[in-house]
């Protein structure tokens, strides 16, 4: 169950359109290391996660990623608002516009559509948490790449916020991995898969 909160996690107020920049930033919506993949990754992994604190982290970070997806979408929306056909043509936005007009659609900057193969839900806590740690760093690198191209402070300010959150999430996933490993045999963390090999008692209610 989710409730919508009618505000962005961090405000986005862009007054100058820039369709060329929108085409780059859209990768953090539907690209390989984007916020849609991040959210789906964590929210999919959590059901079979046997450690409740870690299932909590996956739920709360997965939820925050939905808010990040909304921020990235707001940035792309504001960068492409009310464009004229001439501006669309001149900026190279025509190849996106022909299929989606000015609507949001999850794709990578290179035009590749969003695909669930961009994330993993492997059913092994160590494997999944390493995937999550890597995902946060890949997203951080993507934001660093975007920040080298952005000149407008109205755009770079919310992008910097998003970049910082990747680092915080990396920290929390690192702690989650430690919590998992503390429950396992330090001589062989891989002796069994706690998401599969251990029978768990039925819940009380």
């Amino acid at each position: 169950m989710w409730n919508y909160e009618k505000r962005l996690q961090y405000p986005v107020n862009i007054t100058q359109t820039n369709p060329q920049m929108a085409q780059v930033i859209i990768s953090q919506f539907g690209g390989p290391d984007g916020e849609l993949a991040a959210s789906m990754r964590y929210l999919s992994q959590r059901y079979t996660m046997p450690y409740k604190e870690v299932a909590g982290v996956l739920t709360d970070i997965g939820t925050e990623e939905l808010a990040h997806m909304e921020m990235v979408s707001a940035i792309v929306y504001q960068l492409t608002k009310n464009l004229s056909p001439e501006e669309i043509k001149a900026s190279g936005f025509d190849k996106y516009y022909v299929d989606h007009t000015l609507a949001l659609w999850p794709q990578a900057a290179g035009g590749i559509p969003f695909n669930a193969c961009e994330f993993q839900s492997k059913g092994d806590p160590i494997t999944d948490l390493f995937e999550d740690l890597a995902a946060e760093q890949k997203a951080r690198t993507t934001y660093d790449n975007i920040l080298r191209l952005v000149k407008d402070p109205e755009v770079s300010d919310p992008i910097r916020f998003l970049r910082q959150r990747e680092i915080v999430h990396f920290q929390r996933f690192g702690e989650s991995l430690r919590l998992v490993q503390e429950q396992l045999d330090s001589r062989n963390f891989y002796a069994f898969n706690p998401e599969f090999d251990v029978p768990r008692p039925a819940p009380n209610c």
């Binding site: 909160e5 961090y10 982290v57 709360d60 707001a74 915080v168």
Partner: protein, 88 residues
């Protein structure tokens, strides 16, 4: 910007600040569930956030469905969506 808009933006910004504090400590508490200082911090900012959300609803309209208290008009869907920007 008129004084009324400035007041509104000030409260809106405050909601972002206290909500961020709640959100960030929430993640920390997920992996440190017995950290008493963090629990006190959470309770403090959660209270400030709830007060601010109620005040905002009362003066300008709801940001959450739980603070929505419609009288003669349903403002939840008739006020601007957050991606439209504008305030602050």
């Amino acid at each position: 910007m008129n004084p009324n808009q400035m007041e509104r933006c000030k409260l809106y910004r405050w909601i972002h600040m206290v909500s961020f504090a709640v959100n960030d400590i929430n993640l920390y508490l997920d992996t440190h569930p017995e950290d008493m200082a963090a629990i006190d911090y959470f309770n403090h900012y959660r209270e400030l956030r709830m007060q601010a959300l109620k005040e905002y609803e009362c003066k300008y309209g709801p940001l959450t469905i739980d603070t929505a208290a419609p009288e003669d008009k349903w403002l939840w869907s008739t006020q601007p969506m957050p991606w439209e920007g504008g305030c602050c």
